[in-house]
């Protein structure tokens, strides 16, 4: 059986048969079949692969994919209260405008001359994140928060030459699994307990687990379950006392109102850029950042690219270049460089830069304040529903909170199913990842939720749990 091609395909200029013949003649070949002469016949397919028939017209292709996407119920048409690592914030139109620009969208690994704009934009991104975080060094983004945290741990391990890390019991299970996989087999992660009422890290348990082998402590602010960890300074001091490092994961959308971790002793700060101008896109908007002080011992442990500003041969002209490139696996040392580098999430770094430049200091502060107020309102109103505790953990929070349904006769799964009937996506069911909490859900309220929408949620929950 012969193998057929697709002539005159709009994406393949040289699929025109006459052009192919001309080019083949240049090579002294007769047909496309004469190509791949180096692949052994025994390994070659003898017939076309088994695929659905191509949809040749762009119009029909578009209809086909649109029809598939229409099978989804999305958070634009429904009222969404899911967060848990991917949050629904407003994306300023200017963010999409810039990241849709073909020049940025389709660039890749060009040099600092012809990809000058890519270098400057990412340098500016690093610089604005540095202000938000109050630290001097920020990387070109990595994959996501989990990867940024995992790499932060590996960096801390190399800096301290120690292999034991302490992490909170109350953290995202998926993130823990990613960190555990990336840090294995050599670095161990030990869980530190928490105060049952507040969720705050149990510093007595921390003290008991700290030792001369401790590379560092990792904790988050706000924590995965939304509350603010208030003992940042204490925790950092404790780990510093045994010669370890303080590594803090942070939600950057909180930093207009919350103290940046560097101010309470964090040595390495990491987190996710998704809240800063990225759509949720079913988890496709994640991008990780890592920040440190500008000290050689930290900078030289980054596996990521770091873009720096440099002079050029012309006075008054800005230039950009890779800083300490040979650290990376792209340098001369390959596997002896720091971890590995490659394609990561640069376009989201560019977008986060646009977002921060657009928001400015005032925008970030107001964003934080709005979120705080709406959260506190939602907690107050949900708490009025009989049998529902709207804040399972008593510590103040930022944009997420744990709603406790244990005293209702319904499971979170049942409640969420009924909420979907009202076009509401209820909070994340925590019963699998945190069985100790029983039937609890993690709710997220951001600046996009209006009072009316929060009231709508409250009424729906009240009706469901009372029925």
């Amino acid at each position: 059986m012969a193998i057929n091609g697709f002539k005159n395909h709009p994406y393949i200029p040289n699929s025109v048969p006459e052009v192919q013949q001309q080019m083949l003649a240049e090579l002294g070949l007769e047909s496309l079949e004469d190509l791949h002469a180096e692949v052994p016949e025994a390994l070659k397919l003898k017939a076309n692969m088994n695929f659905p028939k191509a949809i040749p017209s762009e119009f029909e292709l578009r209809k086909h994919v649109e029809k598939l996407l229409a099978k989804n119920d999305n958070c634009a048409d429904n009222l969404n209260f899911l967060g848990a690592g991917c949050w629904q914030h407003y994306v300023p139109a200017i963010c999409d405008e810039i990241n849709s620009r073909g020049e940025f969208l389709t660039a890749y690994g060009g040099e600092m001359y012809n990809d000058f704009g890519r270098f400057q934009t990412l340098f500016e991104y690093q610089s604005m994140m540095a202000e938000l975080l109050d630290m001097d060094v920020v990387n070109v983004p990595t994959m996501d928060w989990a990867q940024a945290a995992a790499t932060s741990l590996r960096m801390a391990s190399r800096i301290t030459n120690r292999k034991e890390f302490l992490v909170p019991e109350l953290m995202d299970l998926e993130k823990f699994l990613i960190m555990k996989n990336y840090c294995g087999p050599d670095i161990s992660l030990t869980r530190v307990s928490y105060d049952a009422a507040t969720g705050q890290l149990d510093v007595d348990d921390l003290q008991a687990k700290l030792s001369q082998n401790t590379a560092g402590v990792y904790f988050e602010n706000p924590s995965y379950l939304g509350f603010i960890e208030q003992q940042g300074k204490t925790i950092s001091d404790m780990v510093h006392a045994v010669g370890g490092l303080s590594v803090v994961g942070v939600d950057p959308s909180s930093l207009g109102v919350l103290t940046p971790p560097s101010n309470y002793g964090a040595d390495i700060v990491c987190g996710d850029l998704q809240p800063l101008g990225m759509h949720m896109s079913y988890g496709g908007g994640q991008a990780g950042f890592i920040a440190t002080r500008d000290e050689e011992k930290f900078v030289m442990e980054f596996p990521s690219r770091l873009f720096g500003i440099v002079p050029t041969s012309v006075a008054g002209e800005y230039g950009f270049d890779d800083i300490a490139y040979d650290r990376t696996s792209f340098g001369h040392h390959r596997e002896h460089g720091k971890e590995y580098v490659g394609t990561q999430s640069a376009l989201w770094g560019i977008t986060a830069g646009v977002y921060l430049a657009t928001m400015g200091p005032k925008g970030m502060e107001e964003l934080g304040q709005t979120i705080l107020q709406k959260n506190q309102y939602a907690i107050a109103e949900i708490g009025k529903i009989k049998g529902v505790r709207s804040s399972r953990l008593t510590s103040p929070g930022f944009k997420e909170f744990v709603v406790d349904f244990n005293d209702t006769r319904k499971s979170v799964a049942e409640i969420n199913k009924e909420l979907r009937g009202d076009n509401i996506f209820g909070g994340k069911d925590l019963s699998h990842d945190f069985p100790i909490f029983g039937q609890c859900a993690l709710y997220c309220v951001t600046e996009i939720h209006s009072k009316q929408e929060i009231d709508c949620l409250v009424q729906a929950i009240a009706r469901i749990v009372c029925s």
């Binding site: 692969m49 969208l105 002209e317």
Partner: protein, 524 residues
């Protein structure tokens, strides 16, 4: 009027956009703002107060972040200008970023990726509310299976390198379960495979062994036989390697590793030249990854977000990171059994990976079908060999290994003769090609081919485009012999002039952020 003479293929009048744009902080004007954000309703403020008072005082930010204060038109103009100073694939003939498979990314797919049915999906939504995207992921999985012959794919890895890390993690778990972790601590790769084939497994603690090329550029089988042993955990390799040479004895390599109990992982970053021609499974591989942002057309985004779809045989499926998307009758479900099984990898990336990239790759494949994918591959190889023949006719160009035989997806050339004759290096040529609006790439470090030049046309340039790139290179090589100063001083028509990188390795001088630059360059 007289007809305007414009027959020269080389763009001697080119100049890239140069805006001399300040750093964004220099645009700041106190009081300006780029956007207003929503405020809490008055009833909420009346009931709750300012919200901030509820934060413990030690956790309140007292000094606002020193972000620039800029009105929206100025923010937009700034980033528009910076975009124009970036040479994306949309605006140049993409041949010069060899090994990166930078091909045309159809606009319709980007438009589909921006629909609310994609962008407004939360990854924790209930299965029944995301049937569309799950169907797309599942069907793309089936496409990858058909292309590779393997049995199950994960789309979590955010790049080829993370795909390699995932393969290394699967290898680790496989031998952990068999109680052979401490014994099998070596991974074998080749000198011309991507650096990440060495670097990512090294994160997992593996000792890396590199097989050098033999006189024909194939991985040296004699050296390989000596390297494979009961210590071998796996063989991770690209084929063709970055030289464009296809290892025609690949089955003997994989068979030898299997004989010693090891696994074989295929770096398919160069798969664009092999779609519908030959498959990973048939060559004896247990796993592989494909770059959806390369072979399957999704845009590179200045370096991600992306996807390194990683597939395995049925026997290794239990080690894949979870969840896996499965079809049960007419429903698509998330199977999380792998995620929480401590004998599997668990997870390598949040949620299910970069879903819009999977969507765009799906749409691209649907625009191709089996016949289109075959055409892609045949034309990519035709383009590559056409360029190869034309460039080898230039006296100062050579390409080591398998003389007179075909290359697959790209060719690594050498300009050693030109450098010996003129002192002009491949790095100089790279900068000069920018003066014509073209990318050009040498090689990963360290250089194993002297003065390397790696070109990969893919299927999307026309013959005219190929001829223009060749004509431009020809002119530049001629300049190397006749007017080398113009090359040494290049770029002269790009965005900036020769950068002074003398401080980039010096902690006292490097400036990774604007605040650091202001501190280190303070004028007393």
């Amino acid at each position: 009027m007289k007809r305007i003479e414009r027959s020269d293929k080389v763009r001697n009048g080119f100049h890239q956009a140069k805006w001399d744009e300040p750093i964004i902080f220099e645009l700041s004007q106190k009081g300006e703002r780029g956007i207003q954000v929503p405020h809490a309703e008055e009833e909420i403020s009346a009931q709750i107060g300012d919200g901030i008072s509820a934060i413990p005082s030690n956790m309140r930010r007292l000094v606002p972040p020193a972000l620039p204060e800029i009105s929206q038109p100025r923010v937009l103009r700034h980033f528009m200008r910076l975009s124009q100073e970036t040479l994306g694939a949309d605006v140049n003939i993409e041949i010069g970023q060899g090994t990166c498979t930078v091909k045309y990314s159809p606009k319709v797919n980007d438009a589909l990726g921006r629909l609310p049915g994609m962008t407004a999906l939360h990854p924790n939504q209930a299965e029944e509310t995301v049937q569309g995207i799950l169907e797309i992921i599942y069907k793309t999985d089936c496409f990858m299976r058909e292309i590779s012959g393997l049995d199950n794919f994960t789309f979590q890895p955010g790049s080829g390198s993370q795909g390699i890390l995932t393969m290394a993690s699967i290898i680790e778990k496989y031998f952990e379960e068999r109680g052979e972790s401490s014994q099998r601590n070596e991974i074998i790769t080749t000198l011309y495979s991507h650096p990440s084939d060495s670097a990512a497994p090294a994160v997992k603690g593996y000792k890396i062994i590199h097989i050098p090329p033999d006189e024909n550029g194939y991985p040296d089988f004699e050296a390989f036989k000596l390297a494979v042993s009961e210590k071998t955990a796996a063989f991770l390799v690209a084929n063709p390697e970055d030289t464009g040479v296809y290892n025609l004895r690949v089955q003997e390599f994989t068979a030898l590793v299997h004989k010693h109990g090891g696994l074989c992982g295929y770096d398919q970053a160069n798969a664009n030249g092999l779609l519908g021609v030959t498959r990973a499974k048939d060559a004896g591989f247990d796993m592989c990854f494909f770059n959806l942002h390369k072979t399957f057309s999704t845009p590179h985004g200045c370096g991600g977000p992306a996807c390194g779809a990683t597939g395995v045989t049925a026997a290794l499926t239990k080690y894949l990171p979870g969840p896996l998307v499965e079809q049960h009758q007419d429903r698509f479900i998330l199977n999380n059994s792998n995620t929480y099984d401590p004998t599997s990898v668990g997870k390598v990336r949040s949620f299910l990976g970069v879903a819009p990239v999977i969507l765009k790759a799906y749409s691209w494949i649907m625009s191709m079908g089996a016949e289109g994918l075959y055409e892609v591959t045949k034309v990519a190889v035709l383009n590559n060999n056409y360029m190869y023949k034309k460039l080898m006719e230039i006296e100062c160009v050579d390409a080591p290994y398998i003389k007179g035989k075909q290359r697959i997806e790209q060719v690594r050339y050498t300009l050693e003769k030109m450098t010996k004759d003129t002192g002009i290096t491949t790095g100089d040529i790279q900068r000069r090609m920018m003066d014509f609006g073209m990318h050009y790439w040498s090689s990963h470090h360290p250089f194993h081919v002297a003065e390397p030049m790696t070109l990969e046309p893919t299927e999307t340039p026309s013959k005219e485009d190929l001829d223009e790139y060749i004509a431009t290179l020809t002119q530049v090589f001629k300049e190397a012999y006749e007017n080398p100063d113009i090359i040494r001083s290049a770029p002269n028509r790009s965005v900036c002039h020769r950068v002074d990188g003398s401080g980039v390795d010096d902690p006292k001088q490097w400036c990774i952020t604007w605040r650091s630059y202001l501190k280190k360059t303070q004028v007393n």
